[in-house]
Amino acid sequence: MIQKSEIRSQKSEAVIAALLVALAVALVFAAPVFAQNGEPTDDEVNAVAKQLYCPVCENTPLDVCPTQACAQWRATIKEKLIAGWSEQQIKDYFVQQYGERVLAQPSTRGLNVLVWVLPPIGFLIGAAALAYYLQQLRNPAPSVVAAPASAPPTDDDDDYEKRLEEELAKRR
C-alpha cells in the first residue's frame, strides 16, 4: 500500500513538472508581450477593463467596480491576456458572453445607429431653425409694423456704462 502510493505520488509529481515546463514554454512562445515577468501587470488588465462595463452593476466601469464578481471578471481578462488574446478578442468575448451592455458605448450597428445620429441631426435642425428665424427677423414681412428705428451702431451702447459716465460727468 505504502509503496504503491509513493510510486503514484512520484508519477504525479513527474506529470505536474512536465505540465509546468510545457506551460512555461507555451507562455514564452504564446505571450511574448509578457515575456519579461511572465504575466500581465494590473495596469495592462485595467487598460482592457476600463473599456468594459460591469455586466451586473449599473453604469460601473469594470476597472473600478469594487464587487467580488468584477474582481473575477478582471481575473478572466488576465487569463485571456496570458493566453495571448488581443484586446479586441477579449472585448468580443465579453460581448458574446454578457451582451452589448458591457461596452462603454453602443456599437454603430442596427438600431444603435440612432444613438449617434440623432443628436447631430437634432442640433442641425435646431441650427437651421435658428438661421431661418434670424433671416425672418432681418427681412420682416411688409405687414409687420416696422419697429422704431434702432439706434445707430455704437461701439458700446451699454446702459450701465452710460450711467456711470453720466455720474462721472456730474461730479467733475
Binding site: E100, R101, P120, A147, Y160, E161
Partner: protein, 687 residues
C-alpha cells in the same frame, strides 16, 4: 400616535392642495376674490401640514419605530441621530414627502409675497403650484406611503406592509432596521439631495407664473421680472446640488473622478441646462421684447425636466424595462409629465399671436444673436444628454437588448458643443446689443488674445503638450482674460472717481449685481474648466499588489505599503484600513494615507474610501482594491494622480459666490421697479 398625526396631516395637505387648485381655477376667471383668497390660504396651509407629516417621519426614525416599513428600510439602531434625521430623504417614500414639503415651502412663500402688481396672475399661480404639489402628495399617499406598517399574517406567516391592519394579522416589529444605502452616509449626500430638490422646486415657481401669464393673456414680461429672483434661487441650489454631488462621488465612490454621465447625474443636469438657457434668454425679452414664445418653451421644458429628474434620481427605473414596469411610479410620472407638457404647449399655441416680438433683429453680430447661439448650444447638449440617458430603455423595449451609453458617448457628442459654449461665454459679453461691429469687438479682444499666447507657452512648458489640451486651454485662457477685462473696464471707470481698486470692484459689483454676478459665474466656469481639462486629460493611474514594505511609483511619487488592519466598529461596520506612506521624487516623506474599505454588515454593501493627499497642483488618490485576509501581508492598491482637480472645487465656489451676488436683493432695483409703470419696464433693461 405620531404615525396617526403624520398620516392625517399628509391627508389634510392633499385635501388643501386639491381644494386650492380647484377653487382657484373656478374663481379665477370669475374674479371671485373671496374664493381666490380662500384658495391662497389653503395653499399656504399645506406647508405647516406637510411640516407636521415630515416631523412625524423624523420622530419615528429617531425613535426607531421599526414596525414602520420606511423606518426599518432606511435606518438602523447603530446609526447616529443625525443620520436618522436625514434618512427622511434616504429612501423613495421619504424623498417624495421631503420634495412635497420643499415644494409647499416655496409655494407658500410665493403666496405671501406682495400681489398688488400682478393679482390677476394669482389664481393660476396657485392652481399650477398646487396641482404639482397634489401630484406629489398623491404619490406619497397612495403609491409610496412612508407611514405603512409591517403586519404579520396569522394565516400565512408572511410579513406585508400595509397602511391599516389587514384581517387576521398582528403588528410586526423587527429588532433592527436595515440601515439603507451606506454610500449615502456621507456629509455630501446629506446636503446634496436637499440642494438638488430645492433647485427642482425653485423652478416650479417661474413655471407657474409663466402658465398664469399664458392663461390670463398678460404676455408682457411681467412674469419674468416677478420670478427672476425665484429662478436664480432655484438655479443656485441646483448648481450647488450638482457640485456637491460631484464632490460626493469623488470622496466616496472610489473611481478617481467626479462626473460619470450616470443617468442620475444627467437627471439633475438636464433642467440645469435648459434653466441656464432660460436665464440667458430672458435677458433678450427684458431688454428687447423679443423671444417671448421661446422663453415660454424653455420654462415649460425646464419644468418637464424637473419632474423627470425627480423621478429619475429616486426610482432607478431607467436601469431596465422590468424595474419600470414593476413600480406604479413610472407610468404615473410619465403620465403627469405628458399631461402638463401638452396643456402648457397648447396654452402657448393659443396665445401664439400675442407673443410676437416687439422689435426686430438688427444684426447677426449682436448680443441677441449671441444669446440665441448660446440657447442652441445648451439645448443641443440637453438633447444629446436626454437621448443618451433614455436610449438604453428604448433599445431594451425595441430589440430586447440592454446596452450602456457611457462617458465616451457624452465626451464625443457634448465635448465640442461645450468647447464652443465656453468660447461664446468669453465673446458674447463683449458684443453690444442690437448691432456690434467687428472693429469694436476686435478692440476689446486683442489684449485677451495677446495674453493667451504667453499663457499657452507657459502651459506647454508645464507639461501640457497634448494638442487637444492646448486647444482647450487656449479657449479657456482667452475666455478668462476677456471676462477679467470686463471687470477691469468697469473698475478703471470707477477708479477715475478716485476709488482704490478694491473699493471700485466692490462698488461696481454692488451697483450692478446681475451683470458682475454673472461675470463672476463665468470666471467660476473658467476655473472649473481648467480643472476639468487637467484632471481628465492628464490623469495618470497605476495598480499593483504590494507585500509589506514594497513600493510602487507613479508620476514622481513613490508609495510604500506599511500595514493593513481589520477591525469591527460599534456601528456595524467591518473596516479594512491600510497605512501607506507617500514620498516625493527626492525621497522626502510627504504624507501618510489611510485608504480603507468599509463593509456594512446590515446592508451587506462595501464602501471604498480613498486616501487623498491634496495640493493645489494635484491630488494623490489611493484606493485599497484588495488585500489578503490571512496574515495581512499583501494588498492591492490603485493610485490616481489627478492634476488640477482642486480647480474644479475652487471654480465651483467662485460660481456659487457669483450666483449669490446676482441673486442678492437689491434695494435700489426694487425701488426703481416699484416706481416704474409696467409698460416702461420693457425698455428700461436691468442689465
Amino acid at each position: 400616535m405620531t404615525l396617526t398625526l403624520g398620516l392625517t396631516s399628509l391627508f389634510l395637505a392633499f385635501a388643501c392642495a386639491l381644494y386650492a387648485s380647484v377653487a382657484a381655477l373656478i374663481a379665477g376667471p370669475r374674479k371671485l376674490n373671496a374664493w381666490i383668497d380662500s384658495a391662497r390660504n389653503a395653499a399656504i396651509l399645506t406647508w405647516p401640514l406637510l411640516t407636521l407629516a415630515s416631523l412625524a417621519v423624523i420622530i419615528m426614525l429617531v425613535q426607531g419605530q421599526y414596525q414602520v416599513e420606511y423606518v426599518s428600510d432606511v435606518s438602523s439602531l447603530a446609526m447616529p441621530w443625525y443620520l436618522k434625521v436625514t434618512a427622511l430623504w434616504g429612501g423613495q417614500a421619504g424623498s417624495l414627502l421631503f420634495w412635497s414639503w420643499l415644494m409647499s415651502a416655496f409655494a407658500s412663500a410665493a403666496m405671501l409675497r406682495r400681489w398688488d402688481r400682478d393679482r390677476s396672475l394669482m389664481p393660476y399661480v396657485i392652481a399650477v403650484s398646487m396641482i404639482t404639489l397634489a401630484f406629489f402628495i398623491l404619490l406619497c399617499l397612495f403609491v409610496e406611503n412612508p407611514f405603512r406598517r409591517l403586519w404579520l399574517s396569522q394565516a400565512t406567516g408572511e410579513v406585508n406592509p400595509a397602511l391599516f391592519q389587514p384581517a387576521n394579522s398582528t403588528l410586526f416589529t423587527p429588532q433592527d432596521g436595515r440601515g439603507g444605502n451606506p454610500l449615502l452616509r456621507h456629509p455630501g449626500m446629506i446636503i446634496h439631495p436637499p440642494m438638488l430638490y430645492l433647485g427642482f422646486v425653485g423652478f416650479v415657481v417661474p413655471y407657474a407664473f409663466a402658465v398664469a401669464a399664458l392663461i390670463t393673456g398678460r404676455t408682457d414680461d411681467e412674469w419674468i421680472r416677478t420670478t427672476r429672483r425665484w429662478t436664480l434661487v432655484g438655479w443656485l441650489f441646483l448648481s450647488l446640488g450638482l457640485i456637491l454631488g460631484g464632490r460626493w462621488a469623488y470622496d466616496v465612490l472610489g473611481w478617481g473622478g467626479y462626473w460619470g454621465w450616470d443617468p442620475v447625474e444627467n437627471a439633475a443636469l438636464l433642467p440645469w441646462l435648459t434653466g441656464t438657457a432660460f436665464l440667458h434668454s430672458v435677458m433678450i425679452q427684458e431688454k428687447r421684447g423679443m423671444l417671448k414664445k421661446w422663453n415660454m418653451v424653455l420654462i415649460i421644458l425646464t419644468y418637464a425636466l424637473v419632474i423627470f429628474g425627480t423621478f429619475l434620481t429616486r426610482s432607478g427605473v431607467l436601469s431596465s424595462v422590468h424595474a419600470f414596469a414593476q413600480s406604479a411610479i413610472g407610468p404615473l410620472f410619465f403620465g403627469f409629465i405628458g399631461i402638463t407638457f401638452t396643456i402648457s404647449m397648447s396654452l402657448l399655441f393659443w396665445r401664439w399671436d400675442s407673443l410676437a416680438s416687439e422689435t426686430q433683429m438688427d444684426s447677426l453680430l449682436s448680443r441677441e444673436a449671441a444669446f440665441l447661439l448660446n440657447n442652441l448650444l445648451f439645448l443641443g447638449i440637453a438633447f444629446a444628454t436626454l437621448w443618451g440617458t433614455i436610449y438604453p430603455l428604448i433599445s431594451e423595449l425595441v430589440t430586447g437588448q440592454k446596452i450602456t451609453v457611457g462617458p465616451p458617448y457624452y465626451n464625443r457628442v457634448n465635448g465640442p458643443l461645450l468647447a464652443i459654449l465656453v468660447l461664446l461665454m468669453g465673446i458674447a459679453p463683449l458684443i453690444a446689443w442690437r448691432k456690434a461691429s467687428f472693429k469694436s469687438l476686435g478692440k476689446l479682444m486683442w489684449i485677451p488674445a495677446a495674453l493667451t499666447i504667453p499663457t499657452l507657452i507657459l502651459f506647454y512648458f508645464l507639461g501640457a503638450a497634448h494638442p487637444v489640451a492646448l486647444g482647450a486651454y487656449a479657449i479657456t485662457a482667452f475666455v478668462g482674460y476677456t471676462t477679467l477685462s470686463e471687470f477691469a473696464r468697469g473698475m478703471v471707470a470707477r477708479m477715475r472717481l478716485g476709488e482704490n481698486p478694491l473699493i471700485a470692484l466692490i462698488n461696481l459689483s454692488a451697483r450692478n449685481r446681475r451683470r458682475y454676478g454673472g461675470y463672476t459665474i463665468h470666471l467660476g466656469v473658467v476655473v472649473m474648466a481648467f480643472g476639468v481639462i487637467g484632471s481628465n486629460l492628464f490623469q495618470t493611474e497605476t495598480q499593483a499588489t504590494l507585500a509589506q514594505g514594497e513600493t510602487l511609483s507613479i508620476g514622481g511619487f513613490t508609495l510604500r505599503f506599511d500595514s493593513v488592519a481589520l477591525f469591527p466598529t460599534n456601528d456595524n461596520r467591518e473596516v479594512t484600513r491600510a497605512t501607506v506612506t507617500v514620498f516625493d521624487s527626492s525621497g522626502r516623506l510627504i504624507a501618510e494615507l489611510h485608504p480603507r474599505r468599509d463593509f456594512f454588515l446590515d446592508s451587506g454593501q462595501p464602501m471604498t474610501i480613498p486616501g487623498v493627499r491634496s495640493t493645489f497642483g494635484e491630488d494623490f488618490y489611493v484606493i485599497l482594491v484588495d488585500w489578503q485576509p490571512i496574515g495581512s501581508t499583501g494588498a492591492t492598491f490603485k493610485v490616481y494622480v489627478n492634476p488640477l482637480i482642486n480647480l474644479v472645487w475652487t471654480g465651483g465656489l467662485i460660481f456659487i459666490l457669483g450666483t449669490l451676488v446676482a441673486t442678492w436683493p437689491d434695494a435700489d432695483e426694487e425701488k426703481r421697479y416699484a416706481a416704474a409703470p409696467a409698460s416702461t419696464l420693457a425698455t428700461a433693461g436691468a442689465d
